[in-house]
């Protein structure tokens, strides 16, 4: 998919050839657009993408360094900022492995067996993607709020706090990143089938050994791909976390929430400084993701080959 079609490739070869060859450039194929149309379409797409996608990114970094490197360091190196970074890392360190274990288990059950209700199960796994982040946060408040929650009385009497505390933030993050790893693994493992595992088992390997030495190496790049996307979302989640966090500085503030608080206090430079760290994370994620797509295209799920 990354390459243009065969006739087009022939043409571009001819173009890069000697001037003499260029004179004999084959006429335009009927399944191609004229060069003028081609160039205008490319131009239009590039201009629109730069305006809609790249400009906001440029704005983040420009605003972050408006007061120079010193201003940037000062903004990031503030106790509340450091606390927010630590909390963000902690939340990702819990929620990503949790969804990793789930993703592997779900993919194993769904891809390696035929059972009834499979399509429905896949739909349920994808469900968190179509729920608004704010609703995702709200459902946990409804469940665990000590004052209004379904389990509020129980939590209250046992002195447990989930909402406006770290456990709530972790739960909300797990919810919004729930499908990421499973949905990378399921199509790939379905495509790979069960013959490799059956061979290993028939040679006397135990189930666990088969999984560790046959299945896991087969899906490792897809797994990494899923972890990458899951982590980016876990560290950047705003809406769901905002609802359950309570915005207690130094305690329940993640980086995206810290960005919001600084922004609402008109500390724009500091806000953009913290935001630029998140933007850098996004860029690293995109870079690694593209690298995986480029180098291990065959070992990622079918839909990811571009």
């Amino acid at each position: 998919m990354s390459d243009v079609s065969a006739p087009a490739r022939l043409m571009s070869d001819a173009e890069t050839d000697t001037p003499a060859r260029r004179l004999r450039k084959p006429p335009r194929l009927p399944t191609e657009e004229s060069p003028l149309v081609r160039v205008s379409l490319i131009g239009l797409a590039v201009v629109l993408l730069l305006a809609f996608l790249l400009l906001p990114l440029v704005a983040v970094f420009t605003e972050a360094f408006r007061q120079g490197i010193d201003g940037f360091v000062e903004a990031v190196n503030d106790p509340d900022g450091i606390a927010a970074i630590k909390l963000t890392l902690l939340v990702a360190a819990i929620s990503v492995p949790a969804n990793l274990v789930f993703g592997v288990a779900a993919a194993w059950a769904i891809a390696k067996y035929e059972f009834r209700g499979k399509a429905f199960l896949i739909t349920l796994i994808d469900l968190p993607f179509s729920v608004s982040p704010v609703v995702a946060g709200l459902v946990y408040v409804i469940l665990y709020s000590t004052s209004h929650g379904v389990f509020g009385g129980y939590l209250q009497s046992h002195g447990l706090q989930i909402i406006f505390a770290v456990p709530g933030i972790v739960l909300a993050t797990i919810f919004v990143t729930f499908p990421f790893i499973a949905r990378e693994l399921i199509p790939l493992m379905e495509e790979q089938g069960t013959t490799d595992e059956e061979a290993a088992l028939s040679l006397g390997a135990t189930g666990l050994r088969t999984f560790l030495t046959v299945t896991l190496p087969n899906v490792k790049w897809a797994l990494l791909y899923g972890v990458l996307l899951c982590n980016a979302r876990a560290m950047g989640e705003f809406g769901a976390v905002s609802v359950v966090s309570g915005h207690i500085r130094g305690l329940t503030n993640t980086m995206p929430l810290h960005v919001e608080i600084l922004y609402n206090e008109y500390q724009f430079a500091a806000s953009f400084a913290v935001a630029s760290l998140l933007a850098a994370l996004a860029l690293v994620t995109l870079g690694l993701k593209s690298l995986l797509e480029l180098r291990y295209a065959d070992e990622l799920a079918a839909g990811r080959r571009h």
Binding site: T31, V135, L138, I142, H148, V150, G236, L286
Partner: protein, 278 residues
Amino acid sequence: MAIRFVQPSVIPGFRLALGFTLAYLALIVLLPLGALVFRASELGLSEIVSLALDERTFKALEISFVTAFLAALFNVPFGLLVAWVLVRYDFPGRRLLDAMIDLPFALPTAVAGIALTALYAPNGWIGSYAAMLGLKIAFTPVGIWIALVFVSLPFIVRTVQPVLAEVDREVEEAAATLGASRLKAVWSVILPVLTPAILTGFALAFARSVGEYGSVIFIAGNIPYVSEIAPLLIVIKLEEYDYAGATAIATIMLAISFVMLLVINLIQGWARRRFGRV
């Protein structure tokens, strides 16, 4: 013989894997969503409807739906153009552009929100030029629309791209042989094949946009009845300890999510029957 739940297999671990999957799914997704439905059922349908018909709530839902619809609508031609250029043409920087498409997925929504506000505010890079023309973008529904175009563009591009890449070039050749102009061939031979992908992408973009929060609230200005979106109103109701109000709006939004999910599944089922693939 009764139909088996699971086909026999030599591969071990089915019960463990499925058991864990179901337990985790129930704990993380089904129980919390069930709690919302439970609280909504305590309110009753008539109460939910009357809460939703409250003027401010109704207006917020309307703003969310209209801006999400217009953003998804704009992203259909925009996404098609981008997918076409990325699949069909080779030019310097194509790979970089391709990688950039996923930026709205990777960039945290709050970051996108303040960045877009910096650009489109009356004193911003773009906003100041718009202000000279007497146009206001940030802190109006137009600002909401821009944020939603940003977050939902990848959905259309990424659903159309793989289908376009697999379009059989022979059908285009056949169309050309039969005397169709290039535009006619694209319109009546390629576009119909892309229709299910476009509809799926549209539904995904719309579903995401309706519920979007982080990238919108900074640029929206959040003026009640003008630029206040439904997810924000949920947050406001929660802060006012109006749990019934928050539950009602959330229930309506969850119902929309289910409908969109159903629509997407129907489109894909239809596409499988019609074209033999998704």
